[in-house]
Symmetry: C2
Subunit: 254 residues, 2 copies
C-alpha cells in the first residue's frame, strides 16, 4: 500500500497550458482532490474518485489528501494556475508539518505549472520583463497592515506588481485601498492592466493608467498588473496595445 500525493496546477484555463507532467498525473490518479470549480474543468476517467469541496478550508482538504495516500491512493491535489502560488501546495506542506516526522514518509511531490501572472503577461507582451512582485490582496489569512506595507514598499522599489485575488463579493474594498496606497507613491501615468479570465472563453483585457483606473472593475477572476515607471505601451495597428517593461534601466551601469 504505497500511495502518493501529487500537487498539480491546471494553469489559468486551457488544456494547452497544462504541462505534460501534470496531465500524466491527472490521468493516472485514483483520487482527485480540490476546489469544486477547478475539478469541474477536468474530464474524470472511469473509476477515478472525486473529492470536491468548497473554496476555503484548504488545510482540511490537504489532510484528507494525505490520509487517502496513507491508505494507498494515488492522489492528485488540484489547483488552478501553479500549485505553489497562493494555492494548495502550502496547505499540503502545512498538513505534512502537522504530522510527527516519522509519519511524513509519504510520497509527496509538488509539480510546477503556469501561474496567472505569467499567462496575463504573455497575453500583453512582456510587462514582467524586469523585476516584479506578486501580492495576494486577500486579507482572509493575513492582516491588512502587512499587505499595505508590502504594497507601499513594492511601489517604492518600482517593481512591476501583480495583484492576485484583488476583490471578491465578500471583499470589495481592499482593491480600492490598494489603489489609494499605490497612487500615493506611483505617478498617475503608470501603466495598469486588468486581465480577467485569461485563456478562457470570456477573457477580457484592458490597459489603462493608475490615474484613470476604476478599481471596482476588478473581481475574483481578475489579475491586476501595476507597471513599473519604465513600463510602456506599444500601439498596434489595431486592438489592445502591447505592454512591456524594458530589460534596460538607464543610469550609470556598473
Amino acid at each position: 500500500m504505497s500511495g502518493s500525493v501529487r500537487v498539480v496546477g491546471l494553469g489559468p484555463g486551457p488544456e494547452r497550458w497544462i504541462t505534460p507532467e501534470a496531465r500524466a498525473v491527472l490521468d493516472d490518479a485514483t483520487d482527485l482532490v480540490g476546489y469544486r470549480t477547478y475539478l469541474a474543468r477536468l474530464e474524470v476517467r472511469e473509476g477515478q474518485r472525486v473529492h470536491d469541496s468548497d473554496n476555503g478550508d484548504e488545510l482540511a482538504r490537504a489532510r484528507h489528501a494525505l490520509a487517502l495516500a496513507s491508505e494507498g491512493a494515488r492522489v492528485a491535489v488540484v489547483s488552478g494556475g501553479d500549485p505553489g502560488v497562493f494555492a494548495m501546495a502550502a496547505a499540503v506542506l502545512e498538513a505534512l508539518a502537522l504530522r510527527p516526522v516519522a509519519e511524513r514518509d509519504l510520497d509527496v511531490q509538488v509539480l510546477p505549472g503556469v501561474t496567472a501572472m505569467l499567462a496575463a503577461a504573455a497575453r500583453l507582451g512582456a510587462p514582467l520583463g524586469n523585476d516584479f512582485c506578486a501580492i495576494n490582496l486577500s486579507d482572509n489569512l493575513k492582516p491588512w497592515d502587512v499587505i499595505a506595507r508590502r504594497l507601499t514598499l513594492a511601489a517604492e522599489a518600482d517593481f512591476v506588481i501583480a495583484l492576485y485575488n484583488p476583490a471578491s463579493r465578500a471583499r470589495p474594498e481592499q482593491v480600492h485601498r490598494a489603489f489609494v496606497l499605490l497612487r500615493a507613491v506611483r505617478a498617475p501615468e503608470t501603466v495598469v492592466v486588468f486581465a480577467k479570465a485569461i485563456g478562457r472563453p470570456d477573457e477580457e483585457v484592458f490597459v489603462t493608467t493608475l490615474g484613470e483606473a476604476d478599481p471596482s472593475l476588478a473581481d475574483m477572476r481578475t489579475l491586476l498588473l501595476i507597471g513599473a515607471s519604465a513600463t510602456r505601451c506599444v500601439a498596434r495597428p489595431a486592438g489592445t496595445p502591447w505592454v512591456y517593461t524594458p530589460r534596460r534601466i538607464d543610469g550609470e551601469v556598473s
Copy 2:
C-alpha cells in the same frame, strides 16, 4: 506571405515541463531563433532552419526574428523558462516598438511557460506560498543602485525573494553584495535555498540560512530563494527538508 513570431519558453529543463502549446509551436516552426544553449536542447525537425547566437545581443536576435516573419517564416523565438521573465519577450517587444506603427502589423504572440522560480519552489515544497518578488541580479542592463534599493525594500517588505542570475564568471561579486544588504535587514535564521539546474540531470538543491549561506556557491545556473520571516523547514524522514511559507500570517486579521 504571412509569417508569424511565437515567443516560447522551454521551461527550466525537461520536456515534461514544456506546455503543449509551446511544443506545437516548436514542431510547426520553419525557423528557430535563440541562444545556442537553449536551442541545443531541441530536436530539430528536418527542414527547420536554426538561427542560434551567443548569449547577449537579445535585441539583434529579436529584430532578426521579426525580419524573418516579414518574409513569411513561422518563427519560434526560444528562451529557457518562461519567455516573459528576464528573457526574450521583452526584447521582441523592444524590437516591435522600434518599428513604425504601420509596420507592427505582424502576427506576434508570446506564450507562457514554467519559470525557474516555480520549478525550484515545487521541488522544495511551497516557499512561494505567500507574497514574493523576483529580482534579476545581473547589472549588465541596469545600475547596481537600482538592484540594491530593490533588495533592501524587498527585504523590508518581508517578501520571499527569488534571485535570478545571481552570479556568472564575469560577475562573481553581485551575489556577495546582495547578501550583505539582505543580512542588514533579515534575521540570520532566515531560510535560504540554492536551487541549481532544477529538473536537469545535474540538479542540486540545498537549504541553509542567511547567516550560514556561502554566496560563492551560486553560479549562473542557480536560482536563489531567500525566505520571508515566516518561511520554515519541515524535516523529512530523510533527505533535504521541505520548505514552505505559510498562507496565514498572524496578527489582527481584518
